[in-house]
Amino acid sequence: MTSFIYGLLLYIFLMIPPVANLVESIMITHMHMQMPLLVIAGFLMGKLFQRKFPFFFKKWNSNGIPGITLFLIIIIYWTIPRTMDEALTVQSIEVFKFISLPFLAGIPLRDSWSKLSSFGRNTVIIIFMIKYFGMGALYIWWPSQLCNNYLLIDQLTLGWGFVTTGICLLLYLIYVFMIDPSDYE
């Protein structure tokens, strides 16, 4: 229950207009702060849903694959340059962002991650790594503005943000493949 309340508080905090406007005014905080925090809010709130509807999750997401796929779809959707722009200019898209990221990405992530095998988890991380390097390259090398609502310099910053995150994921994967935890037990 506590985690639900923390999640809910975070969710409400992110929805306060000045907070939303502030993080959305900078491209990188829009994508790499607001969006992940919305997912985390959903992740924290997820516990309650799991408790309330245990059969639903067990039945329809028995191995976590549908859930993690939904999570991936939602996250990839929100990295399309156009969706970032439209979240700022089209009200319904902004609403969809606040619904989809916590409820269609955060909650499925919570329910699915623990069900995935380590192979499944690493696959998800590999997908993200490839995506982040790809998006980073796109945002860094694209000669013109990808988003009408942000400056070119913001775009470059975001590109490097993607690459940095990609590097972190790569380091994690190297660690996972090189080190056997049982050696240290």
């Binding site: 028995s62 191995n63 694959i65 549908p66 939904l70 959707y77 009408n148 609502n149």
Partner: protein
């Protein structure tokens, strides 16, 4: 290693198939994803808002609104001044050091490529979206710098903020001040037809293409008259 990967993948697939409901929800998720991406990108056509904007403008063909312009010679008029002529429009601000000079240079080249139509069938109009700084004097200097004659290629500002906003909004021009007196903005050649409707939005870096398009449009109309 590769062998292990395939086995692991097989196991994942088998575990999907073992549970019917999960298979169903997996298919539903995939379909949902497809629909989401399909509608989110207008059928995989527009991945940036700029493409979407251009596609939409081409469909909607908005009318140039009633706005009062003041040009570099201090004359004021609305678009009806250019009745029965095509008008090629660009949006700029004279303090711009990056895109605008390129845009205007390209506009000048386009102007030079259409000597047989300029004045008679088509007029050129550069509109400033920075009316506080771009007064007639400044526009006059800018006009001279780009070799526009001030008549068949005019440079004007829209003094009334509301009118300016309305025009920019209708033509989908997005302008973001960067706080240092500069703006980031999207640029294009906007062609307004004889009835005052936006007829084409063209890439300002493809001068040849734009010139051909305009010539074809004008020719097809004069051809119809004969």
């Amino acid at each position: 290693m590769g062998y292990l990967f395939i086995i692991a993948l097989d196991m994942e697939v088998i575990s999907v198939l073992k549970n019917r409901q999960t298979t169903v929800s997996f298919i539903v998720v995939i379909l949902f994803g497809f629909v989401l991406f399909y509608f989110g990108t207008d059928g995989f056509k527009a991945f940036t808002a700029e493409t979407a904007r251009l596609n939409e403008l081409k469909e909607v063909k908005p009318v140039f609104p009633q706005v009062t312009m003041e040009d570099s010679k201090g004359r004021t008029y609305s678009l009806s001044e250019f009745v029965n002529k095509y008008v090629l429009i660009t949006f700029l601000y004279t303090s711009c050091g990056t895109v605008c000079p390129q845009l205007e240079k390209n506009m000048g080249e386009l102007y030079d490529r259409l000597p047989q139509y300029v004045g008679k069938d088509i007029l050129f109009l550069s509109i400033s979206f920075d009316p506080t700084r771009d007064d007639p004097d400044r526009l006059e200097t800018y006009r001279k710098a780009f070799g526009s004659d001030g008549d068949t290629w005019r440079m004007a500002r829209i003094v009334d903020k509301n009118e300016l906003e309305m025009l920019l909004k209708r033509f989908g021009v997005i302008i973001i001040p960067d706080g240092n007196g500069n703006f980031t903005h999207n640029s294009a050649f906007y062609l307004v037809d004889k009835t005052g409707r936006l007829s084409e939005v063209m890439d300002y870096t493809k001068i040849e293409e734009a010139a051909d398009k305009i010539a074809t449009l004008i020719e097809s109309e004069t051809g119809n008259k004969k």
